[in-house]
């Protein structure tokens, strides 16, 4: 449904995204994950036709954003990062206005309005001015604005940022309820959001894509290395050196007395680690294994990338 083809975008001399490509299949919810400044918003603005890419192209439902921007824009409902709206308008007038500008025919506008108000649970605020609404309702109005013309594609830039947990839950439910019906790209830097709502994830860092996979796979494939967490009393430098001597051990990190030890997949070195610690006269207080969460994968990908850059 959406095809991003070697997109590069510069702001003056600064490279915001460099040569990124990925595809989103019809009906898929794709999580676009990256830390601040990674280039999420920039990519989304290219997809929506807000500005053209410096290089590369984007296709939405087969239409090129460069050659047929209006056709592309017709396919997309967009919720920008900090939803701006005409604060002087009442919710109902605002949605009507956006619907009409987006080209919803007069005959179907009423029906679309009712559907959108119901879907986004806006009934209680239809007569309030948009500027007076709470953050959560504003976000829902922004979603309503995106949905008013029934677009097959939704682009949501950090749709849950700045909301309280209850509102976050509601917005996520709403997004999930549209799975299969619409193709959705949602950006976030919150990991659980991806595992909770998305079927596929693209991780972007410093303007480049570092991973593309299904949410499940990404978790699995990076559990190449199991981790063991220990709490040991003693001088950390010596303990670390001792641990590293064991065959099959990867990185060893510590925060105070808490150590994280990575080991190769399919090797259970827990007993060896325990022995090594105790035999060298350190006091082992705790030992437990843990597999990598999506969060670890994300941090690993992003920091590895940075280390690679510095090298």
């Amino acid at each position: 449904m959406i095809k991003i083809e070697k997109v590069t975008k510069l702001y003056g001399q600064t490279v915001a995204v460099r040569d990124i490509s990925f595809e989103v299949a019809e009906g898929e919810i794709l999580g676009f994950l990256g830390p601040n400044g990674a280039g999420k918003t920039t990519t989304m603005r290219v997809i929506t036709g807000y500005f053209p890419p410096t290089d590369g192209n984007v296709f939405v439902a087969g239409h090129s954003v460069l050659d047929e921007p209006l056709e592309v824009k017709r396919q997309i409902g967009y919720v920008p990062e900090n939803p701006a709206m005409y604060h002087d308008m009442r919710t109902i007038d605002y949605l009507k206005f956006i619907g009409a500008v987006k080209g919803v025919t007069r005959t179907s506008l009423k029906e679309r309005l009712n559907k959108t108000i119901e879907l986004c649970a806006l009934k209680s605020v239809v007569n309030k001015r948009v500027g007076e609404l709470s953050r959560g309702f504003k976000q829902r109005v922004a979603l309503g604005q995106a949905l008013i013309n029934d677009p097959p594609v939704l682009i949501l830039d950090e749709p849950t940022s700045g909301l309280d947990p209850k509102q976050i839950f509601e917005i996520r439910q709403l997004i999930k309820s549209m799975a299969g019906e619409r193709t959705i790209v949602l950006s976030t830097h919150i990991l659980p959001e991806v595992s909770m709502t998305c079927s596929k994830v693209v991780i972007i860092n410093e303007g480049e894509i570092v991973a593309v996979d299904t949410t499940e796979n990404l978790g699995k494939s990076f559990v190449r290395t199991h981790q063991v967490e220990l709490v040991v009393k003693g001088p950390s430098k010596e303990i670390k050196n001792n641990l590293k001597k064991i065959d099959g051990i990867g990185k060893v990190d510590n925060v105070g007395e808490r150590y994280t030890v990575e080991m190769e997949k399919d090797k259970d070195l827990r007993s060896k680690i325990a022995k090594q610690v105790v035999q060298n006269g350190f006091e082992l207080l705790e030992l437990k294994s843990r597999s990598m969460s999506l969060e670890d994968v994300f941090i690993k990908l992003v920091t590895e990338e940075e280390e690679g850059d510095r090298a």
Binding site: R45, T48, G49, F51, K73, P80, A84, Y86, V101
Partner: protein
Amino acid sequence: MRNIAEIYKREIRFYFATPIAYVVIIIFTIIFGFFFYRSLVYYSELSYQLMQNAYYAQRIDLIMGVFSPVFSNNAIIFLMVIPPISMRLIAEEKKSGTIELLFTFPIKDIHIVLGKWLAASTIIVLMLVLTLPAPFMAFKFAGAAEWGPVLAGYLGMLLMGLSFLSLGILISALSENQIVSIIVSYGVLLAFWFLGWIIDPGSGKTIGKVLGELSIIGHLSNFVKGMIDTKDIIYFVLFIFMSLFLTLRVLESKRWRG
């Protein structure tokens, strides 16, 4: 077309939902009314004195005696009241970020600009329409109607007002700040005003002539006297067209740069 109409309706609603339109229209009408009243009083005193002298009585008519000075003053009022109308048109959307929405909707930039331009134009037309009782009163007072030259004056007013507005939109597109937008508008409009005064166009120097041709006020003088010259019409139409064209270019280039 529907896009333009929707943008237009929103802008009109905004103007009348806030005090802007009322304030501008009331101030304009009061000042216009004051100038008109002064001119009419002056004219009546003059014509009373001139009753005795048939030769002078013919020389001085309503156009030269009343409307020409009123229209000339009106140009200055327009210069004061149009930037407050135009300053927000694009600057506000840039500041609030709603321009991002408009740019991602399936509409063209030109629809956005035209919708806004037409809405602000409506206010200008409305201001002029509200002054129409003036010529009716004057004609009644003088006992004779001479609509042609007065309508020529109105046409000049309208074209000049739309020119101010178009330049105002261009400046609004260049800025995110409405205060900057209005101050720059005043500055640029005054500069266009004074262009003709830098070097006397009658001095014979080419540069003086060129500057005179570029100045707004120079192209108003014929209209005000009741004469329609195609050259003047072309000047104002080009002025409007160029301003709107540049506005579109500014919007485009801002987006390319991000």
